[in-house]
Symmetry: C2
Subunit: 405 residues, 2 copies
Amino acid sequence: MSWLELAGDTPFGLGNLPYGVFSTGDDPRRRVGVAVGEQVLDLSAAAGATGAPFAGLLTAGVLNPLLAAGPSVWAQVREQVREWLTEPRHADRVRPHLVPRVGITSHLPFEVADYVDFYSSEQHAINAGRIFGAGELPPNWKHLPIGYHGRAGTVVVSGTPVVRPSGQRKPRAAEVPSFGPSKLLDIEAEVGFVVGVPSEHGRPVPAGEFGRHVFGVCLVNDWSARDLQGWEAQPLGPFLSKSFATSVSPWVVPLAALEHARVAPPPQVPEPFEYLRVAEPWGLDLSLEIRLNGHLVASPPFATHYWTAAQQMAHLTVNGASLRTGDLYASGTVTGPEKDQRGSLLELSWGGREPFAIGGGASRTFLEDGDEVVLGATAPGPDGARIGFGEVRGEVLPAVGGGAL
Amino acid sequence: MSWLELAGDTPFGLGNLPYGVFSTGDDPRRRVGVAVGEQVLDLSAAAGATGAPFAGLLTAGVLNPLLAAGPSVWAQVREQVREWLTEPRHADRVRPHLVPRVGITSHLPFEVADYVDFYSSEQHAINAGRIFGAGELPPNWKHLPIGYHGRAGTVVVSGTPVVRPSGQRKPRAAEVPSFGPSKLLDIEAEVGFVVGVPSEHGRPVPAGEFGRHVFGVCLVNDWSARDLQGWEAQPLGPFLSKSFATSVSPWVVPLAALEHARVAPPPQVPEPFEYLRVAEPWGLDLSLEIRLNGHLVASPPFATHYWTAAQQMAHLTVNGASLRTGDLYASGTVTGPEKDQRGSLLELSWGGREPFAIGGGASRTFLEDGDEVVLGATAPGPDGARIGFGEVRGEVLPAVGGGAL
């Protein structure tokens, strides 16, 4: 129980306490904050004012120093915050550092080192194969979590508008490519994992060390231009079709908040190579939601994602590649078996062939200028509560130069 | 003329003056240096001692603040260094800051933001297509510079040993994949471009602005595990087959040193889209050399590279992706039409089918443990001199765990 008045159904209860970076109109400095109820605790200020031993980790305006500090410090900070918010003797000292969340500006919570995107939902991969007429699953799919590097420099925080990218595309029926604004702008609803503790270059990180390196979880919208992707991606993979923007939620939910959300992933057949086996499963029972212009268009389940984040981390490093503080890797599009569980418009419109309703008599295949996409998610927390992830919000702005679609 | 005694054929004459970061046994601090003749000028110390206006840009132990400062500062620093090294009145003040290059430890010269690798040698792409039986050039190849993102966190400086990566591979004849140390470890000789001035997210950077954003050029060895690549790369491109290590030269040669090396690229047919056209061509007449265990195995020419670095920059940003200080993008494997101009062992051994001689009666298809690869390059400088790029040196260490090959 907190001396704060918290609604029983708040997604930001004491079992959550996610971290972000914010500023206010009164104070433009970027500070580390913890979301609680309708407020945000200015953790940088509270730690400074109380002389907390970890105060020095909270002055950079990004989470990176805290991320780098490792699990025992993460536990110490989390315990201190919980104590501040529950023990009445702290109330007078802590209350001045609470700010209404509605009035803050959220910033990118951490400086992104390397960004990797996986492709680990079986249903999404099956759907993509069917839509593109490429058969069911690629032959390597059940042996390794397929992934590729994306552009770290264009990871942006929720709320940042996304300019429709221009580029080359060549529809199958066209003889030559053309250049212009993407006509097939899409989203991908994903779950992101934020690395805290770096690893040594040359040393693979076992899957069992997941909790010693990965700090927490955010939501990711991996914006995608399908027409650019179709033309550019052979033979070396997606590039400009993804690199124009990747949006993340302002709040990073620590793994410590997700103990009640852990589940076993689906059975993995054939049995993975040894480096991909884990004693303690890291499937996570997150329920995602995709809203387009306010209308709920899909509710993808993450619990059935095939490869877990612990396995992805082990794969990412099995060749000796190192982890750095601030590395972000995303799950790949989260898609379930039902039509309303699809994590991309590519799937919801089945390659553009089946427009889907977005309420008010309107429908979509891909995104139009002015469309706003909001991703959200919750997970089981302690005592029947739900853990919230906040949202990833992004509005589509017209292409530079205003070329007609 | 310098008051320094410089050999007439030094690759580090006054027309070059490349930048790096070094330390010494006496002084482990990382300092910015400029290579000149057999020495390195401790630029951080010289600027500090003389109160140079740019001294504050040289205290970070990496080039990034200097890179970010932009072309007018780059020109100012270069002019000052040249003046220090040529006017006898500066000799007494500057000489104490000269250190024999043979005794220094070189460090990664800049903090890498995003790393992109292109695929822009026509002969290399043709060779790869033939070796893999995939036909001549991909249909998009002459329309855009194909590229993909690599791992920035595993870019290492010359001299860093490279541990043979382990991973999954499945030869065509095998029914199932296997796991172990790569059996087909390769190199790719490339030219790297280092971004100085960032660009605004959402705004494409025209090819004509190349010199306002890109600071200089280094050499890149894009180590590649061909067996891992063959199994993992469909459908999203290379990942672990490249991410274990990418080596760069310790010296970044500023574009200002390469005026005499500029050439027109080969004719581009069909004519590229407008955003890829340039008024002033940025082909560069670099002559690369690849040595394996001291034996010259190839001399790839860069002058005939199809897509130039200015076009690659324009492509990279045409979707609105931003440039950041420290972005590194590489040319793709540099390969000429002759057998001894091939920039990878994949090509030199024609897919492993034709072992090539490395001197002393020995031969190779791919790299063995203990092999040392050294890349070098020169380019035309002023007055008939050659501009040197230093070298990218790397020794192959056995795989972690010592699994037999």
